[in-house]
C-alpha cells in the first residue's frame, strides 16, 4: 500500500488504514454500517465482486447484503452493485443512496456522476493507472481516493483482464473493511468452485498484488463542489396517458459509446463500400454518404468488433480505447 503526499492539498493517512491489519471490519472505518456502491459494466464482474466481498465479511462475523440494480441494459452497459456491511443485523431493504465507498471498476465510467450521494468523508476507489490526486482533480472530489491499475495486476497474476478481483483487493486494503485473510479465503473458495484450484490461486495472488499496489490520497479542495445538475423528471400530470411516446428514434439521446473498450479504426483507402459493416453493425454506427462508408459514429458504437470481423478487406481494425 502506498500513500501519496499531496502538495498544495491537505493530506492524511486515514487512521483506519493504520489499523486495518490488526483490527478488521466495520469498526475499522468507525461506522456502524458501511455502504458500498460498485460501478462496472455488464460482464465485468461488479456483481461478483460485491458477492465475494459479502462472503468475506460473513467470514468475519459481520452482517452483509450484496445486491445489484437490474435494468434493461445488456452486456457492456453500465451496471451498479451494492454492499451493506454492518456489525448488527441490517434491516434496510432499499437502494444505497449515500454510499460510504464508491468503487469504479471500469476506468471509462469515471466521471462526476459516479460521486452521486458519496459521503464527504467517503472513499472513492478507482481502477486507473492514474494517481489518486489526478483522479480527485479529474472528478472534482474532495475526499479520500484510492487507485489501482487493475490491468497491470491481472497481467502480473496471469489472469484475463477482469478488474473485479484486483479492485476488491484495493477496496479492502484501502478502507480496512475486510481482513486480507478473509478476503483471500472468500476469493479462493469462490473460484475453486467455479473454475478450479489453479484459477483460484491466481485470483488470490491478484488480491495480494492489489493490496500492495493500491495508492491512497486524501484531498480537500474547496473549489471542487459543483452544483449537481440533474434534470428534473416530469410530474405525473405531465406524462402522456399510458406512456405513449411520440418522438421516434429518441433513443439517439442515449449515448452508448461509453460501453466501448475498443473502437474500429476505419481506413477509407482500403474500403470497397461493400457495406457489410453497415449491414451487420448492431448500433447503426457505420456512417455513409451516397452509399459510401465515411466513418464510425463513436457516440453509439459499443465496440463489438462485428464490422471489423465482417470486413473483407483491411478497412476496419479494432484498437483499444486510449
Amino acid at each position: 500500500m502506498q500513500t501519496e503526499l499531496g502538495s498544495g492539498v491537505d493530506f492524511y493517512v486515514n487512521k483506519a488504514i493504520g489499523s486495518a491489519m490488526e483490527s478488521p471490519g466495520v469498526e475499522a472505518i468507525g461506522a456502524e454500517l458501511v455502504e458500498v456502491r460498485w460501478h462496472g459494466r455488464g460482464g465485468q464482474g461488479a456483481v461478483t465482486g460485491a458477492k465475494i466481498l459479502a462472503r468475506a465479511a460473513t467470514k468475519e462475523g459481520l452482517w452483509i447484503q450484496a445486491f445489484s440494480e437490474f435494468g434493461p441494459e445488456r452486456r457492456g452497459a453500465p451496471v451498479l452493485a451494492f454492499n451493506r456491511i454492518g456489525a448488527n443485523e441490517i434491516r434496510t431493504y432499499a437502494p444505497v443512496e449515500e454510499p460510504d465507498v464508491v468503487v469504479v471498476i471500469d476506468p471509462a465510467l469515471l466521471e462526476r456522476a459516479v460521486l452521486r450521494g458519496l459521503k464527504a468523508e467517503g472513499w472513492l476507489v478507482v481502477n486507473t493507472p492514474f494517481s489518486p490526486r489526478q483522479v480527485a482533480r479529474n472528478v472534482s472530489f474532495s475526499g479520500t481516493v484510492a487507485t489501482l491499475d487493475a490491468a497491470a495486476v491481472s497481467r502480473e497474476a496471469s489472469l484475463p483482464p477482469l478488474a473485479n478481483i484486483p479492485m476488491l483487493g484495493a477496496l479492502a486494503a484501502a478502507t480496512g473493511l475486510i481482513q486480507r485473510s478473509a478476503l483471500e479465503e472468500a476469493v479462493f473458495e469462490t473460484f475453486r468452485a467455479s473454475l478450479g484450484e489453479e484459477t483460484a490461486r491466481k485470483n488470490v495472488r491478484a488480491v495480494n498484488l492489489a493490496w500492495s499496489q493500491v495508492r491512497i490520497g486524501h484531498y480537500l479542495d474547496p473549489g471542487s463542489t459543483e452544483e449537481e445538475n440533474e434534470c428534473a423528471l416530469p410530474s405525473w400530470q405531465e406524462l402522456e396517458p399510458g406512456g405513449t411516446l411520440y418522438q421516434p428514434g429518441s433513443a439517439r439521446d442515449y449515448l452508448t459509446g461509453m460501453w466501448r473498450s475498443s473502437y474500429p479504426l476505419f481506413k477509407r483507402e482500403e474500403c470497397n463500400d461493400c457495406l457489410r459493416c453497415w449491414v451487420f453493425c448492431p448500433d447503426t454506427s457505420i456512417m455513409t454518404n451516397e452509399g459510401k462508408v465515411t466513418g464510425i459514429d463513436l457516440q453509439y458504437c459499443k465496440g463489438c468488433g462485428v464490422c471489423a470481423a465482417v470486413c473483407p478487406r483491411d478497412a476496419l481494425k479494432m484498437v483499444p480505447e486510449n
Binding site: G42, G43, G71, P72, E73, R74, R75, G76, A77, G243, L245, Q247, P248, G249, S250, A251, R252, D253, Y254, L255, T256, W259, R260, D273, L275, W278, V279, F280, C281, P282, D283, T284, S285, T288, E290, G291, D297, Q299, Y300, K302, G303, C304, G305, V306, A308, A309, V310, M318
Partner: protein, 309 residues
C-alpha cells in the same frame, strides 16, 4: 415492383431501428430487425413481444424505433398484431384510412416456440395479413439464458447446466418452422443473419404474401452462446455451412432450399466455436455428437427432397 433491395440505396433511408438502444454489444437482433423492415415497400407497424429486443429498445422516455411500434405482453404478439390488422381492415373499409400498411410482429424463441405458440397459431389460422418474425437465439436470453423449446440438444443453458449427472439439454429442439408450415400459410422461411441478402429477399416475399407469413431467423447471442461479440456473423455462417440451421422457404406449400453450402461441414466445427457446446468436444460425448450429426444429416436430406417433415 416495390423498392429495390440495393444496399447502397437503402443507406440513404432512416433506419427503422435507430441507435441508442441497449442491446448487448454485438447483438444480432437489431440487424435482423433492420434487414426485415428495410425489405418492406410500404410503411410498417411493428408489434414486439416482451424480450431483449423490446426492453432494450424502449426504455421510457426513449424509443429507438422510427416507425409505429407496440409492445403488449410476452405471449401475445401475434394476437396483438391480429387486433391491429383487424382495426386496419375495418378502418380502411370505412374510409378512415387510405394508406396501405404492412404489419410485423417480432418475438424471440421463448415468445414464439413456447409461451406465444398458441397465440401465433390462432393468428395464422385466422388468416390475418402480417409477417411474424421469430429472432431465434435458442434460449430465454432476456431472463438470463434459460432453456426454451428451441434450445438444441446438448446445449448448455443456466437451467440445463453441464453437471456430473446431466450434460446440457437432454431433448431435441422443437421444429417450429415445420409446425408453422402445417398451418398452410402462404409463406414460411428459415433465415440466418449471416445470409443477409437471402434474408431480405425472404422478408420481401413475406410482405408480398397474400396471407400470414413467418420467418424463423437464427440470431446468435453473445452471452447466451458464450461467443465473442465480433463472432456472431461467423457463428451464424457456420450454422448454415454445417446445415445445423438450413436455409429454406416454403412458398404456397412448395419447399425449396435457398442456400446450399459449398461444402457441408461437420457439426463439430459449429460446436467448437461456441462456449455453450464446448463440453461436447470431450471424448465421452462422442456418441451424442454422432447422434446430432445424424439428425442434422437426416433433416438436410429431407429438405433437399422437398419435404419439411
Amino acid at each position: 415492383m416495390g423498392r429495390s433491395l440495393n444496399l447502397k440505396e437503402l443507406t440513404r433511408e432512416t433506419p427503422p431501428l435507430g441507435p441508442g438502444h441497449r442491446l448487448c454489444a454485438g447483438c444480432t437482433a437489431s440487424a435482423i430487425v433492420r434487414l426485415v423492415l428495410m425489405a418492406a415497400d410500404r410503411p410498417v407497424v411493428v408489434v414486439n413481444a416482451t424480450g431483449c429486443l423490446e426492453v432494450a429498445t424502449t426504455v421510457y422516455p426513449y424509443t429507438a424505433w422510427n416507425m409505429p411500434w407496440m409492445h403488449n405482453a410476452f405471449e401475445n404478439a401475434a394476437a396483438t398484431v391480429s387486433g391491429i390488422e383487424a382495426a386496419y381492415r375495418v378502418r380502411m373499409r370505412r374510409g378512415e384510412l387510405r394508406e396501405p400498411l404492412y404489419f410485423v410482429a417480432f418475438g424471440g424463441d421463448g415468445g414464439t416456440y413456447d409461451i406465444g405458440l398458441q397465440s401465433l397459431s390462432g393468428a395464422l389460422e385466422r388468416g390475418h395479413r402480417f409477417v411474424y418474425v421469430c429472432y431465434d437465439n435458442e434460449a430465454y436470453m432476456n431472463t438470463g439464458i434459460q432453456r426454451s423449446s428451441s434450445t438444441p440438444l446438448g446445449s448448455w443453458t443456466t437451467t440445463t447446466p453441464v453437471g456430473s449427472v446431466t450434460v446440457g439439454k437432454s431433448t431435441r429442439r422443437k421444429d417450429l418452422t415445420a409446425i408453422i408450415s402445417a398451418h398452410r400459410i402462404p409463406y414460411v422461411a428459415q433465415c440466418a443473419i449471416s445470409h443477409h441478402m437471402d434474408l431480405m429477399r425472404k422478408a420481401r416475399k413475406a410482405f408480398d404474401a397474400t396471407g400470414p407469413a413467418f420467418l424463423n431467423i437464427l440470431s446468435p447471442c453473445v452471452p447466451g452462446w458464450r461467443i465473442e461479440p465480433s463472432d456472431t456473423v461467423r457463428v451464424s455462417q457456420m450454422a448454415v455451412d454445417t446445415c445445423f440451421w438450413p436455409l429454406f422457404e416454403c412458398e404456397e406449400g412448395k419447399l425449396r432450399v435457398t442456400v446450399q453450402p459449398k461444402e457441408k461441414k461437420p457439426v463439430q466445427e459449429y460446436f467448437q466455436i461456441q462456449g455453450r457446446y464446448r463440453h461436447l468436444l470431450r471424448p465421452e460425448h462422442e456418441a451424442l455428437v454422432a447422434k446430432m450429426q445424424q439428425e442434422v444429416d437426416q433433416d438436410w436430406q429431407r429438405l433437399k427432397e422437398g419435404r419439411i417433415l
